[in-house]
Subunit: 241 residues, 2 copies
């Protein structure tokens, strides 16, 4: 009945799988340029429209990169490229799942901070201190948020696990934190946050992994507990969606 090329699902889905397979099998190397949309379509026996949908899908997944006028390329396939979509999860989650995401972040962030305490170089530690100082030197929430993100990003990078750092990045996406922190900081949590950040930095400087783990876990845990209280709280319409 069915021949060599059986039909399963839509042709676009099939094209996506085929390109993914080409990369997984090593027939397409990171950074390499793919054939033309038009040629790819011919090769797989589908129309250019369907091929474009497949390419677009792989583009949003961070697997391919399309450069207008130049061609289609395989990305570096690094953790950051592929885990970019993780931010979507954080952005579209609401209610109880926000707490779950924070719980995951607490687990990973505490471990990452502990690893960082053992491995961080003096250069990186200086960068951490820079963001810490900048964060305490301003009252602009936007700027604080930016340096806060950079502060944790630097620590995660120092842990030496790019994948973990990329996941934590997604779990701390701008819109995610902005949504949660809007309410959290309104309750005058600035002082507490500064204290916790200082504790994390102190543990890093002392190269004390266990202290770092505890400080980081407490830091994220504070937000987590606050959010948990918000959800089950008195207000019939909980704060963050």
């Amino acid at each position: 009945m069915d021949e060599a090329a059986p039909q399963k699902g839509t042709v676009t889905q099939r094209a996506i799988e085929q390109i993914k397979a080409m990369i997984a099998e090593g027939r397409l190397e990171p950074g390499q340029r793919l054939p033309t949309e038009r040629e790819l379509a011919v090769r797989l026996g589908i129309s250019r429209s369907s091929m474009r949908e497949a390419i677009r899908a792989l583009t949003v997944l961070g697997v391919l990169e399309a450069r207008h006028g130049s061609g289609i390329y395989v990305t570096a396939l690094e953790a950051g490229d592929l885990l970019e979509t993780f931010g979507v999860v954080a952005d579209l989650s609401r209610g109880p799942r926000l707490v779950e995401l924070l719980e995951v972040r607490r687990i990973l962030e505490s471990t990452a901070t502990a690893l960082a305490a053992a491995r961080i170089t003096d250069d990186r530690l200086a960068a951490v201190e820079k963001h810490l100082a900048a964060m305490n030197a301003t009252d602009d929430p936007e700027e604080i948020l930016a340096h806060d993100l950079a502060f944790h990003r630097e620590i995660a990078a120092a842990a030496g696990n790019e994948t973990m750092a990329a996941i934590l990045d997604g779990l701390s996406s701008r819109t995610f934190r902005a949504r949660v922190w809007r309410g959290y900081q309104e309750e005058g949590a600035f002082a507490r946050t500064r204290r916790e950040h200082a504790a994390i930095h102190r543990a890093l400087a002392a190269r004390d992994p266990e202290a770092a783990r505890t400080a980081a876990a407490a830091h994220v845990g504070e937000v987590e507990e606050w959010l948990r209280a918000q959800l089950g709280g008195p207000d019939p319409r909980p704060g963050p969606r």
Copy 2:
């Protein structure tokens, strides 16, 4: 110069953002049906082709679901839907990043197992035992792998954090484990694996979180260490890609 609707990036990218925004703002509820492709295209002022690319992109991200002949729907937006793409990362990663992924899994899995030890119900524990028994009763690698996955999935589910379970699921995708385990099991690691699984189960049955954490960490850590050795090993062409 630019008016109300400024042009940034491709029209498709803009459409993706707009639909995402509609969901984030609550204008589109989970499970709800969207207007037809044709109408959506008209509303956003783009062609149907471009709109289809946007829809396809959101489909692979697990945000939308297209039912042929029926319409386009917002998914339940549960952790499993949105984190399905996590498997792609595991499938396309190779070399050092495989070790990083296992490290992340070790951290999350050990915590999840500890939580499970404290919270697991008798029903779930029975299910865990079922997969454990089935895993030890056969020699078919395929079947062993399937029950192994189910074993850990059941435990992750018992931890009470759907998001974490979904991430672990992605980190243990069939193709991922198949690639790594092919070599690992060849070295006669069956016995060791069974011993470790038994230890995990014992800790769960005893409701001992710390023992469970240790057992799970050791279990994943074994594979992690083996893989690490493979990569830096003697063979110029390391085993798993």
